[in-house]
């Protein structure tokens, strides 16, 4: 009974909004107030920082028109296909490199150093190989996605508990059984982490390719808004894109039971 009273008193004393939430609210409000002040100050070029009201109106306009969802579906389709192709290839290559020390010594350094190179520079080649349509965007996304998945899976393979592998071998498991019963379940976290990184870079690769040469997709809409100097619309699209990208990243992380959405 005494414990219950104490709990009730503690609950009564606890503030409705915690200090962290309060700081967050203050930061958000301060940023919005500074933004609105700058938009009316005339210190910057007109429309570079549009009024929040205009951005809100553009956001509403964006989300209530079917055109945006069509382009979102195009980009989502390209990124999804790139993730499936690049992710599958990355898992296969990662397992091969992680399971075989010789292959790892022979080829992994190439992947390690090619991984962080800027993939957008391959876009002219992708256009020549796959045309100016969705194919070249998917190809660039696939290429971007392959490296982080392959490297994470290879590193994950090497961290598998040796006892599990010995158990599999003592049961005379075939290669396919070893892959599906031992390797893949034991590497759930590295694979999900690789897919999460792969999703991020596939999204960036696909969208950048769309901004360079495309007539559909979110990247095209962003560069189109820039070309027509429709700044509120551009801000609205960037806001929605950031929310979707961060949400997708966190979603994949949560799917794999990863604690944080930190990139490294």
């Amino acid at each position: 009974m005494a414990d219950t009273d104490r709990l009730i008193r503690t609950a009564e004393r606890a503030p409705v909004i915690g200090p962290v939430t309060m700081v967050r609210l203050v930061i958000i409000l301060a940023v919005l107030a500074i933004w609105e002040f700058l938009s009316h100050s005339g210190w910057l070029y007109r429309d570079v920082i549009p009024s929040l009201v205009n951005i809100g109106a553009a956001l509403f306009d964006l989300l209530t028109h079917g055109e945006y969802y069509f382009n979102l579906a195009v980009t989502a389709g390209e990124v999804g296909t790139a993730l499936v192709l690049g992710g599958s290839a990355g898992i296969i290559v990662g397992i091969a490199l992680g399971a075989n020390r010789f292959l790892s010594k022979a080829f992994e350094s190439y992947l390690y150093y090619l991984g962080p190179t800027p993939k957008i520079i391959f876009f002219p080649i992708m256009i020549m190989w796959f045309g100016v349509g969705s194919g070249s965007k998917i190809a660039l996304g696939t290429l971007s996605c392959f490296f982080p998945v392959a490297l994470n899976v290879a590193a994950g393979m090497r961290q598998i508990d040796k006892t599990l592998i010995r158990v599999g071998r003592s049961f005379r498991a075939t290669t396919a059984q070893m892959v599906f019963k031992i390797y893949l379940p034991a590497m759930r976290h590295p694979i999900i982490n690789g897919v999460r990184l792969g999703l991020g870079v596939a999204l960036i690769g696909t969208l950048l390719a769309e901004t360079k040469l495309s007539n559909k997709g979110i990247g095209f809409l962003i560069i189109n808004a820039y070309s027509t100097f429709d700044m509120p619309r551009m801000y609205a699209m960037l806001i929605v894109l950031f929310v979707l990208a961060i949400g997708a990243n966190a979603g994949v992380g949560r799917l794999g039971g990863l604690d944080s959405i930190k990139r490294h």
């Binding site: 700081v23 010594k105 957008i120 002219p124 990208a245 990139r263 490294h264």
Partner: protein, 263 residues
């Protein structure tokens, strides 16, 4: 155990690494020879994939006629400028957030989320603000690479061993002395990891934005060659950028190892 005893396994280990490396390099050469043969016999279209021999031949032309050295230094300058800004603002931001715990608790998740956001997609916005200039490229490299530097700085300072902090306290160090004599030196290895990641992100974004806005150094070179439909030149320029990127990563890794060596 004598020195001779220990050197024999080491030699074997080195020899054990040489053979796989030779196989890796040999496979790469064999792949290019195969592509050359397939193009020469007409299986692959030479107007889509130029023969590797033509790409190699075009290297001197691209280097001389396209002023590759000047372009390389332009890209390097943009990248290093972004790197200096990253180091100053990223480390200062991380220190500030560690100093004010409430700020850290409020903002760390946001910064981690920003690290996963496609910030480079803001390049049209930066084009409007800074114009089609080197500053658009530098600022894009800086902003895209800032989150890992801040996060690694916080991680480095927060993971300082408790015993070191207690030693500082037992000497009655002031907060400033505690930071400069204990926390900062202890967190330097992790901070360098953040700066290395930041520099890699900066290079990726600098070259990418150069290509996209057709301005600046090596990124623009690829765009120009592609627009001229100089196939061999485009492939040669891409090879050159890959080579520069790889050398840059290796150099940054070496510098990090040198700065964080313990002996």
């Amino acid at each position: 155990m004598t020195i001779a005893d220990t050197s024999a396994p080491m030699r074997r280990h080195k020899l054990g690494n040489v053979f796989p490396a030779a196989v890796g390099l040999g496979s790469l050469v064999a792949f290019f020879v195969l592509v050359e043969l397939l193009i020469q016999i007409g299986v692959l279209n030479r107007f889509i994939i130029p023969p590797p021999s033509e790409i190699i031949e075009s290297f001197p032309r691209v280097i001389v006629e396209e002023h590759v050295v000047a372009r390389f230094f332009q890209t390097l300058t943009e990248c290093l400028t972004a790197g200096v800004m990253l180091t100053v603002f990223g480390v200062a931001g991380g220190v500030l957030m560690h100093r004010f715990k409430l700020l850290q608790q409020a903002c760390e998740t946001w910064i981690a989320a920003m690290a996963s956001a496609p910030i480079v997609l803001c390049y049209p916005l930066f084009l409007v603000i800074f114009g089609r200039s080197a500053w658009t490229i530098i600022m894009m490299g800086f902003v895209s690479a800032l989150p890992p530097v801040i996060l690694k700085t916080i991680e480095g300072i927060s993971s300082t061993r408790k015993v070191l902090v207690n030693v500082g306290r037992s000497f009655n160090l002031t907060p400033s002395q505690q930071f400069w004599k204990i926390l900062f030196p202890a967190s330097l290895p992790t901070i360098f990891v953040g700066i290395r990641l930041g520099l890699i992100f900066a290079l990726i974004n600098v070259v990418g934005v150069e290509f996209l806005i057709n301005f600046g150094g090596l990124g623009q070179l690829i765009n120009e060659m592609a627009e001229r439909y100089d196939l061999a030149g485009t492939y040669a320029a891409i090879c050159f950028v890959i080579l520069v990127s790889v050398l840059f990563f290796m150099a940054v890794e070496k510098v990090e190892r040198w700065l964080t060596r313990t002996d």
